[in-house]
């Protein structure tokens, strides 16, 4: 006989259970627990917007307060996903508006968001507080204006690296004079100038404002005036620094920064001139996060800045930092957890920067807490990888982008197999791995065998044969996302390990050797996967054996999607096979 557990009691208990894993377990205990859990789940995360239908999610969790959704696959960031592929937010917004009126927070990544969506959000959710759009597109500043104007309790409005149709800076003036709730505002990706007086007044009447990220159109004078009104900021993204230095301007800027005693995160700094850097010195000792990826500052100017940042945990910087600058980081930034080094020059020919593998080695040696790395570099060595693995077994994320395709160890001319083997074996907590450089199938055998906790794996320009894919799909126990470009993988491994694909969120392969015929076979064999062939030239017109340009495969409980453009082929579109299987919406 079971315990008497009234749903009211269970509700109280569940209010202390937040993680999705735990709530998923709770939902499976029995029918009444399923019901109580679904009616009390507040935060919903959907990693692939096509894995489930919006209607099903809205119906299951009517008391949703927070929704996080991801759309396009990650390689969309590198322009590998053609425009119009999909990832539309509208069906989700529509479904939530109908069934989940308590929704307060929406976070979208790599989705197509229209002004209509934004207007619908503004109109439908009375208590709407948080809108974060990352790498989204499809909307204009009019949509932003609608949110600003209507959402009385808006706390967070962040547009991170979105492509926005910028119709001017008026949107900012749509925040009503009565709005005082703002905690975070990020409009760094917009081009147009906003009226500085509107922004000043908004900042002045927002006592809870903690995070402000300006766009490059905001001048230094504007920045000074805003900092004076918001000395309580903990996160700041400056406007552009590319203005002529005037002595009074410099001292005003210095003073404004020195009054921001709680500043922990600094970004923006577009085209900052080295002469301005000393204005930042006063905030350096308190900084935990510094994003210099737009700062074209070179060595040795960077050292003076970095050596003052003893509390720094996160550093994003361009390769202009050079090995020498990374030595300074290793010496002074002992709290560093995350390092990202981006390429400053898009072409290899232009690149003449003294940033080598030694830079990463020295940081790995000096920064004991380092756990996340993204490093773009022209070439690398096995020895460096071995050292990094030995020194930093605590790495959780290791993404190495050797810019030259198929580049071997430049000292020994061998593939980088040994090096990545050391990383996979040594870093037992590795969750995310990106490999590059010349790699043979052997490397993937090691990775398949040892990278037990890796959830996301990215591979470019690597491998000898199909064996590579075979090793990965038969190993890598925790693999959830696999993305591959320009590798000689083909049909055999894919078809042999079809079942593995149901244990993963998605697989992306572009410029590989997967044939159209194999895609058809896979589609028929695995009806619970959506197999999408993304090809500018319709594959049906080519021989079955010809390789397709891109293939995107993901598990889904929603069945085939109905919003595919012309250049996306799925088996459901195939007139010979698909007609009777087409789901009627």
């Amino acid at each position: 006989m079971g315990l008497r557990l009234p749903s009211k009691v269970l509700e109280h208990i569940l209010s202390f259970i937040d993680s999705n894993e735990d709530r998923n377990s709770v939902s499976l205990v029995c029918k009444s627990w399923f019901e109580t859990e679904r009616k009390t789940r507040k935060r919903v995360f959907v990693g692939n917007c096509y894995a489930v239908s919006p209607a099903a999610v809205a119906k299951r969790f009517p008391e949703m307060r927070s929704l996080t959704l991801k759309g396009k696959p990650h390689f969309a960031d590198y322009n590998l996903v053609p425009d119009g592929w999909g990832g539309y937010a509208w069906p989700w917004i529509e479904a939530m508006a109908a069934k989940c009126p308590s929704l307060e927070e929406i976070r979208l990544k790599r989705m197509v968001v229209t002004d209509e969506c934004l207007e619908k959000i503004a109109a439908s959710f009375k208590d709407f507080e948080v809108l974060v759009l990352t790498s989204c597109e499809g909307f204009s500043t009019d949509g932003i204006a609608a949110i600003a104007a209507t959402c009385r309790n808006l706390r967070v409005l962040e547009l991170r690296e979105c492509i926005v149709e910028d119709l001017g800076g008026d949107w900012l003036s749509y925040f009503p004079e009565t709005s005082t709730s703002l905690v975070s505002l990020d409009f760094s990706c917009l081009d147009s100038e906003v009226k500085i007086s509107d922004l000043e007044r908004l900042v002045s009447r927002s006592p809870n404002l903690k995070s402000l990220k300006l766009n490059p159109a905001v001048t230094l004078d504007g920045l000074v005036s805003l900092l004076r009104r918001a000395p309580q900021l903990t996160e700041l993204g400056t406007g552009s620094f590319a203005f002529q230095l005037k002595p009074e301007a410099f001292s005003k800027l210095s003073e404004a920064f020195s009054n921001c005693k709680q500043l922990q995160s600094l970004s923006g700094l577009w085209d900052v001139l080295p002469e301005y850097l000393p204005a930042l010195y006063s905030v350096c000792p308190g900084l935990t996060s510094l994003n210099l990826s737009y700062a074209t500052v070179r060595m040795p100017d960077l050292v003076e800045l970095l050596r003052r940042c003893s509390k720094l945990q996160k550093l994003w910087v361009m390769d202009l930092i050079e090995d020498k600058g990374l030595e300074a980081v290793a010496s002074y930034c002992k709290e560093l957890r995350e390092l990202r080094v981006f390429p400053s020059a898009p072409d290899l020919d232009e690149a003449n920067i003294p940033l080598t593998e030694q830079g990463l080695v020295v940081v790995s040696k000096g920064c004991r807490k380092l756990e996340s790395v993204l490093y773009f570099c022209v070439q690398f060595t096995n020895a460096a990888l071995l050292t990094i693995a030995r020194k930093r077994p605590n790495l959780k994320c290791f993404r190495l982008c050797v810019i030259e395709p198929f580049a071997p160890d430049y000292k020994t001319n061998e593939p980088l197999d040994k090096g990545f083997k050391a990383i996979a074996e040594g870093c037992k907590d590795l969750r995310r791995l990106s490999v590059s450089g010349l790699l043979s199938d052997k490397a993937f055998k090691y990775i398949g065998k040892h990278a037990k906790k890796v959830r996301m794996l990215s591979i470019a320009f690597a491998g000898d044969s199909d064996l590579m894919l075979h090793h990965l799909l038969s190993g890598c126990e925790s693999l959830k996302k696999l993305e591959i470009r320009d590798c000689p993988f083909g049909d055999t491994a894919l078809l042999e390990h079809a079942a593995k694909l149901e244990t993963m969120r998605s697989l992306w392969m572009s410029s590989c050797f997967v044939s159209f015929g194999a895609c058809k076979i896979l589609s028929k064999k695995m009806p619970r996967l959506n197999v999408e062939v993304i090809d500018e030239h319709p594959p049906e017109t080519r021989p079955e054996s010809s390789p397709v340009e891109r293939i995107y495969i993901y598990r889904t409980v929603a069945g085939p999607r109905m919003d595919t453009p012309e250049f996306v082929w799925t088996i459901h579109k195939n007139p010979e096979i698909g007609v009777s299987h087409l789901a009627i919406k």
């Binding site: 315990l3 202390f16 998923n24 894995a51």
Partner: protein, 180 residues
Amino acid sequence: MSSSKKSSDGKSSEIEEAVASLTMPFNKILLTSSDGESFEIDEAVARKFQIIAHMIEDDCAGKAIPIDNVTGDILSKIIEYAKKHVVEPDEDEDEEAKKKLDSWDAKFVEKLDLETIFKIILAANYLNFEGLLGFASQTVADYIKDKTPEEVREIFNIENDFTPEEEEAIRKENAWTFNG
């Protein structure tokens, strides 16, 4: 705290209540459980229960208050907890006291079986005793965290009433959709 069993005669218990109201020492409140147990407690302790605090404010509390929804054994435990928590130590100011109290709380709940904790949650909800409601709920939540559905069923002695198909469908939806 004194506890006395009432007679089963309803009429005489009314009289007893009235007598109690008149003869109760100042700042003491008498709570009577649904099964007739009486508990005399300080007003400060009684005020931990919001419904009683409101009654006191509104002056509609006699000095004797019937708690119809809660049995004596549960009420006794709740009062025990309330007495210990009349003054909540400030974590910053008196770390020592907070630690001691946390330790007492842990021992308090250790002795209780799950069924009793559920009854306490229900009662604390009825009495609007937020501190205990939160503490008891968190305690049970901790039993559930990081467990599989099978393990949870075992702890709570719950039967799985899903069909295999239903269970599989939910498992799939959970894993393929909401689990990243």
